[in-house]
């Protein structure tokens, strides 16, 4: 049933047997897009096929863009305004398509359909509605393209995309030959801009030409992967090709393992220069100067032990990541910094190392022997643990860099991840390893003297600075109360250090008591500090950033239960700042006046749960609905005993309204 003057969607469904595919608007290297020729009554018109997001089909060195398994191709039919209710409109369509596996078969079908004109809207077809919701939307972000020899660069300014946990990004040009269809698309980030480095195809664009296409963005949320399409229109701004941004997680790139390992090695070497690592390396070098008289063999073994310590630590990190990934955890950029407890511990560690460098205390023959203790130590375990320490110490300074490495590695198979991390560790260890194995280099080192002590003391300041920065990070994460915790903890650490050092010449038993007391102080401080931390993200940082006149409430289970007990209808939205699908749904559906007004009219309370930072309560709620990730949309109808209704993951205002009206 159709209304006069309305637009109806008619779908052509292709059920494709496994391994065969039909083609998208731009079929790629070969193939042919499906076409539909309409025969319509006078006054009725049909729009073009509304293409869903395609996928890539590789065959040898050829790449096609198309569909497998099943696709629903929608076209919009305009019903004339003067169509008489009660009359019928015969719709005939001739569809032509090519279906290929390795060989190709052109097929066609003549299809007929009669639409009944009625004064009222008929029921909505769920499948068509779902297909409509999944259609690409016009990207609201500015995009630009630059052309060079046989390359082009697409830049899309979009903080949402950049912040997203992208599994894969692929740009499908609307026109044939603008891009080499199967060439790797290197995805990187430059600030808030997503950068795609592309290879020109057989009919390359020239300067000034606008590049149009579909950006398919796949993101992982829990165990599911969601793909969303955005129509992108990139104008040539005349800018030269810029260097790419920082690397990304997109698996669509074919970055070879070797390249990634070399990159990690270089990155590891650079780590040595970072303010929190440099002192460690320098102190090792100082130790080496004192070792001067020792045999080369011993020096070499020390270097080796240090290297092993670092690489093992990195492998532990890699293992940890793999475990987290296997658990389906949401790991993003600098994931460890989402945990305030970790930041707190790092701030204190930095402070403690600073104190040690300042000479407040010296860790003699202990595990993480630094400074003098280290130099005097003959065992290789000292060097080994210095390596471990160097890795730990490097963590806060390298978070931005580690984020990149982690993001890349997470998108790779486990073996790649492990190898990349091992390379990173080797890079970090390399300068000292070389120094140990190359007597010539050792000779370049200056003579020992008092300057070494002064230098070591000076190195305390970058440590204090790092601690300061971490304290600031913590305040952002857990509010101003955490200031008291972080500095209170530092006070306790200072006392413990003093206690530990001032008793170093006491008898062994007393010394032991003092050491234990110092340890207890530190552990106590951490436990109290950790318990005292209240992770709270200011709203401005989460996905729930909204202006005044807010029409939703923050989700809490208690609030939900209270509303349900009163028999009030509730709409539940679980979202996250890094979930593009969630944000897209809010933009195209949930934030539309139509929907907001309906919520208001029907007295529906709109609860929004922000899963940007993992929230156990929300995770549990998601699990109740058998989900491990966002988005999740649930509607609780007014009746106290009514069943909750789960909405699809891709929304349009119509879908939302339909679900609301279907369950009054």
């Amino acid at each position: 049933m159709v209304q006069p003057g309305s637009q109806v969607l008619i779908g052509l469904e292709q059920k494709i047997i496994p391994h065969w595919h039909t083609y998208w608007l731009n079929p790629g290297d070969s193939g042919l897009a499906t076409s539909i020729t309409w025969q319509l009554p006078a006054g009725t018109s049909a729009g073009p096929i509304l293409w869903p997001v395609p996928s890539r089909h590789k065959q040898g060195n050829l790449t096609n863009y198309g569909y497998s398994d099943r696709v629903l191709l929608l076209s919009a039919i305009q019903i004339p305004a003067d169509a008489k209710p009660g009359s019928s409109l015969p719709i005939a369509a001739k569809a032509n398509w090519l279906v290929c596996e390795e060989i190709c078969i052109p097929q066609q079908a003549e299809l007929n359909l009669t639409l009944k004109v009625a004064a009222q809207r008929g029921p909505v077809n769920r499948e068509i509605q779902a297909a409509h919701a999944a259609l690409p939307e016009n990207a609201p972000w500015p995009a630009s393209v630059s052309y060079a020899q046989d390359k082009l660069q697409l830049r899309i300014a979009n903080p949402e995309l950049v912040a997203g946990k992208l599994e894969e990004v692929w740009f499908y040009p609307f026109k044939w030959g603008k891009l080499a269809h199967g060439a790797p698309q290197a995805v990187s980030r430059d600030g808030d801009t997503l950068v795609l480095d592309l290879q020109a195809g057989d009919a390359p664009g020239t300067a000034g030409e606008t590049l149009e296409g579909l950006l398919a963005v796949s993101e992982k949320s829990g165990r599911q992967t969601l793909t969303r399409g955005f129509n992108v229109r990139a104008t040539d701004t005349g800018a030269a090709l810029l260097p790419s941004g920082t690397s990304s997680a997109a698996a669509g790139t074919d970055t070879s393992l070797l390249a990634a390992m070399l990159l990690a090695l270089a990155g590891g070497i650079i780590l040595n220069l970072l303010p929190c690592v440099f002192p460690v390396l320098s102190i090792k070098a100082l130790a080496l100067i004192r070792h001067g008289a020792h045999a080369h063999r011993s020096t070499r073994l020390h270097g080796l032990a240090y290297t092993v310590g670092i690489i093992l630590s990195f492998l532990v990190l890699a293992g940890l990541l793999l475990l987290l990934r296997a658990g389906g955890a949401q790991i993003g950029w600098g994931f460890q910094f989402q945990a305030p407890g970790f930041v707190l511990a790092m701030a204190w560690l930095m402070f403690a190392i600073g104190l040690s460098l300042s000479g407040v205390f010296t860790l003699g023959n202990s595990v993480a022997g630094l400074g003098e203790g280290l130099a005097e130590k003959s065992g290789y375990s000292g060097s080994f643990f210095t390596g471990v320490l160097a890795t730990i110490v490097a963590t806060p300074c390298t978070a931005p860099f580690m984020g990149v490495a982690i993001a890349y590695a997470l998108a790779q198979p486990a073996l790649h991840l492990v190898l990349v991390f091992a390379s990173l560790g080797l890079g970090l260890a390399l300068p000292y390893l070389l120094l140990c194995n190359w007597p010539l280099l050792q000779r370049c080192l200056p003579r020992p003297g008092l300057w070494m002590e002064r230098l070591k003391q000076a190195f305390a300041f970058p440590m204090y600075a790092t601690a300061l920065w971490l304290a600031w990070v913590l305040v952002l994460q857990a509010g101003t109360d955490s200031l008291l915790i972080v500095f209170g903890g530092m006070l306790v650490i200072a006392i413990a250090a003093w206690l530990f050092d001032s008793t170093r010449h006491f008898a062994t038993s007393k010394r032991r008591i003092a050491t234990l007391l110092a340890l207890a102080l530190i552990i106590g401080a951490y436990v109290f500090g950790y318990l005292g931390l209240k992770p709270q993200l200011p709203a401005a940082q989460g996905a729930s950033k909204e202006s005044a006149g807010q029409y939703w409430e923050t989700y809490s289970e208690a609030r939900l239960q209270a509303l349900r007990a009163e028999g009030k209808p509730v709409f539940l939205n679980f979202t996250a700042a890094w979930c593009i699908t969630c944000l897209a749904n809010e933009r195209v559906a949930l934030n539309k006046d139509k929907v907001i007004n309906t919520f208001r009219e029907q007295g529906i309370t709109y609860l929004k749960g922000d899963w940007t930072n993992q929230d156990a309560a929300i995770t549990q709620k998601l699990a109740e609905f058998g989900r491990s990730g966002v988005p999740l949309y649930v509607y609780y109808p007014a009746d106290k005993h009514a069943q909750a209704v789960v909405l699809p993951q891709l929304l349009t205002p119509e879908i939302v309204l339909e679900y609301l009206s279907a369950h009054p």
Partner: protein, 202 residues
């Protein structure tokens, strides 16, 4: 300091994945090749200097190839080319066991049955020539001028369908290109979209 590192790291990563297979470009020297013909000869592009050469990638079972042979369009082009002294080379890059792969005898029999008249059939079962020219579809057409420059690459005409009825409605790219070349004019559409089945490389 961090920013500097970022730039350094990414520069390395960005350049890593670029491994382009250089496709032959129009108005550039055509890639030189030596290939075996179905009648047991060896043919090299160098030895054909002075003649216009047409390369036609084909697969007799492909519906798009059938469109142009069943309608007589392809044979017509071949005969016209031969009359002007143009050397027409049919290339079969289908790998053994795949659609369109034929031995020398079958290739000749197919052409005589279709009344087709290419100057030679090149058997390219290992796909070397196809990959050299970055040929992707059947049909996929290339024209090399008498000086050895690639002057045309792309589709046989402008309507990408498997329907014979569309031939008359299409802009006949290859016929136009050969006409322009013979008249000493510039080829208007010299780089077009090839359409058809994918070439069945091994």
């Amino acid at each position: 300091m961090f920013l500097r590192h970022y730039a350094l790291l990414t520069a390395a990563l960005a350049f890593a994945p670029l491994s382009a297979s250089a496709a032959p470009a129009v108005d550039q020297p055509a890639p030189a090749f030596t290939a075996n013909t179905a009648d047991g000869k060896t043919i090299s592009l160098d030895s054909l200097k002075g003649k216009t050469v047409v390369l036609e990638w084909t697969n007799h079972d492909c519906p798009f190839v059938k469109k142009h042979y069943d309608s007589g369009n392809m044979q017509g082009l071949q005969k016209e080319a031969a009359a002007k002294g143009t050397l027409w080379l049919q290339v079969i890059s289908s790998a053994p066991g795949k659609q369109g792969h034929v031995d020398a005898v079958t290739a000749a029999r197919l052409n005589s049955a279709r009344n087709a008249a290419p100057a030679h059939v090149i058997l390219d079962p290992d796909g070397k020539l196809g990959k050299l020219y970055d040929a992707k579809t059947t049909p996929h057409m290339y024209i090399i001028d008498s000086k050895g420059s690639l002057v045309y690459k792309g589709g046989i005409d402008s309507l990408a369908t498997a329907d014979k009825a569309d031939i008359a409605k299409a802009e006949p790219y290859v016929a136009n290109a050969l006409g322009a070349l013979a008249a000493g004019q510039k080829i208007a559409a010299n780089n077009t979209k090839p359409y058809g089945c994918s070439i069945k490389y091994e």
